[in-house]
Amino acid sequence: MKNTANSGLHVPEPTARPGDKVDFSYIAIPPAGSVRMPDTAVDPSEIRDLCYDLIRVMDENGQAVGPWNPKLSADDLRRGLRAMTLTRVFDDRMMRAQRQGKTTFYMKCTGEEAVAVAQGMALRRDDMCFPTYRQQGLLIVRDWPILDMMCQVFANTKDRLKGRQLPIMYSTKEGAFFSISGNLATQTSQAVGWGMAAAYKHDQRIAATWVGDGASAEGDFHHALTFAAVYQAPVILNLVNNQWAISSFQGFAGGDRTTFAARALGYGIPGLRVDGNDFLAVYAVTAWAAERARAGLGPTMIELFTYRASAHSTSDDPSKYRPADEAACWPLGDPIDRLKKHLIALGEWSEDQQKALEEELTEYVTKTAKEAESYGTLDQGVAPSPATMFEDVYKEMPWHLRRQRQEAGI
């Protein structure tokens, strides 16, 4: 036995490193449709088993099966497919812009598009989102202008954040999308506070927040769960388990020992575990949790089981720490492919239509990127005025900042 007190310190290791054969055999995948759907008013103690299960709706043939089938209209499904595809095209374009030096940094959500897009669809347009950095799909499914997003990425003269934030750290009150923080997990307890405020104000809106498997180890997430449970806040706590936190596999966040959904049990909160690449399942669990929250039945925690198919960010090279073909071997497939297959199975879509959609969106993104670039890119140095640097530190500028602005000569 390696892991004993008197035989050394146990340090977790993933099943495969670069050069090894990918091994996902440890992942148990129950058949689609096999998990029961409880009433939203269920007592959390009656659904503890759901933390260890995996809610799935789409089967191998692209059919939607079982109680969690949200029975979305074909139009809604196409809307979801479009938003996911647009997200992927947008990501690819921005990634290329970074490679071209037009911006310094970018983060993709490839393989995880269903998370933000399906959840964004299941939430109301004014439910307040406290995302981390891989939920650009929320903005996209809410039809937030991608031009606006690009201007932020380019930190140009139309950047609504005045060049103050790293690319992709979007923020829009109108979009009900909270300012992304560089500091992991801080948004989770903030979301609970927002939800508490909404409850206090007898407001129908609810809050939702996202945190990564890695970041869930931060104390803030524990505080979010505790406060959410104590005050029964109308909030959805989403944990996106995409298997990796930069170079660290989910075993370093505790994933070797149990599911992340099981965290909910310690707080008496319902915990759902869902196939994060199954658009329908993600939609359904989110709608269930939103209904609970809106009915005043309290918080829900959702583990979205997915896979980070791309690099962590443009600063990262995953081939250094995981097998190059790991993404391709991910047993739960690709969320866009799977929803497309479902729509085709329904007779509501075709490969040709998908191709046409991709072309249309590529053209749209390219055109929009050109427009965004016309307002400047970082390398061109067409940035917001340096004088703005001293604004918004406080509501009113105190003397010392006025003096410093003078000193800066701007």
């Binding site: 609504r160 005045k162 923020s171 300012s179 923080s181 801080t186 307890s189 206090y200 979010a224 010392h400």
Partner: protein
């Protein structure tokens, strides 16, 4: 005007604000039913309801995180951190979140929080119930830092803090809760009822943030201080007979630089007094600013009288606390300089 001690003054400020503005909620460890370990929120839950003044889990970072979220919603949370010594777990939510939210969202989301924090020693609280960490917060742009020295100021400043649209850290020197304290721990302590600044209007009033108060005019030397040390400084002035101008800064950030500079230019000498440890304490910033702004007027080195650079030692606290003797000695040195 009614006589109030500092607890009552702070309580009165919150009472008035709860009545005036339904967006104000108060929470923290033990602040609800019980009314706080220092009783600052006594009676407020009963008067305004369970959802206006309530207890929280013991998680300072959680309290602040939740407050930031509430602030983003549009409420005005007033939270209590039970002792300044326990604010460190919440630092990330303060520094990285509350302080920068307005900036990073280009003004769309704000953090109109007030964080009440009992601070300071002199109550045999040992190393974890005696600290004065104010200097850390003054290094964080986006935060305001306030420390009153008497009931009248406490109420007026707290109302201003609550109404302020930026996050304010409001330190309450707990040694002053019941009465003014001049550092003579071996004598009976005074009570606020006998002090002019213990007379506190029952109604709403404000003292603006960023305005210092000259508590004693003088021409020989300027003493810059705040909180408990204002009383120690006044005592040292009387005991040495040196005609010091004693300035109670009240707000550390934004600082009332004009009042400071004017005074030091007049006196040509400056002594800075605070209870916090010396190195990188707020006295360092004050010394730097005075030097930068009054260099050609200074007739002697600026002196700092502060807590030592050690933890606050429980049984030796009166050797640690910068009392009137130490301040007096500094005044004399400066007058000779």
């Amino acid at each position: 005007m009614p006589a109030m001690n500092m607890i009552q003054a702070v309580n009165s400020a919150m009472d008035i604000m709860l009545a005036r503005d339904n967006d104000i909620v108060i929470f923290g460890e033990d602040v609800g039913y019980f009314g706080g370990v220092f009783r600052a929120t006594e009676g407020l839950q009963k008067k305004y309801g369970l959802d206006r003044t309530f207890d929280t889990p013991i998680a300072e970072a959680g309290i602040l995180g939740v407050a930031v979220g509430m602030g983003a919603y549009g409420l005005r949370p007033v939270v209590e951190i039970q002792f300044a010594d326990y604010i460190y777990p919440a630092l990330d939510q303060l520094v990285s979140e509350a302080a920068r939210l307005r900036y990073r969202s280009a003004g769309e989301f704000t953090s109109p929080l007030t964080v009440r924090v009992p601070c300071g020693g002199g109550i045999f609280g040992g190393q974890t119930h005696s600290q004065s960490p104010e200097s850390l917060f003054t290094h964080v742009c986006g935060l305001k830092t306030v420390i009153p020295s008497n009931p009248y100021d406490a109420k007026g400043l707290l109302i201003s803090a609550i109404e302020d649209d930026d996050p304010v850290i409001f330190f309450e020197p707990k040694r002053l809760y019941n009465g003014p304290f001049d550092g003579h721990h071996d004598r009976p302590s005074g009570i606020w009822a006998n002090h002019p600044l213990g007379e506190v209007p029952a109604d709403y009033y404000k003292i603006p943030l960023g305005k210092a108060n000259i508590v004693r005019e003088g021409k020989d030397v300027t003493i810059l201080s705040y909180g408990t040390m204002v009383h120690v400084a006044q005592c040292a002035t009387e005991e040495t007979g040196i005609d010091a101008e004693v300035i109670d800064l009240r707000t550390l950030l934004p600082l009332d630089i004009d009042t400071i500079v004017e005074s030091v230019k007049k006196t040509g000498r400056c002594v800075i007094v605070h209870e916090a440890t010396r190195t990188s304490g707020f006295g360092a910033e004050l010394s730097a600013l005075v030097q930068e702004n009054c260099f050609y007027h200074l007739e002697a080195p600026i002196e700092r009288v502060t807590g030592w650079d050690t933890p606050y030692p429980y049984s030796l606290e009166w050797h640690y606390f910068p009392g009137p003797d130490r301040v007096g000695a500094a005044l004399k040195r400066v007058m000779e300089g």
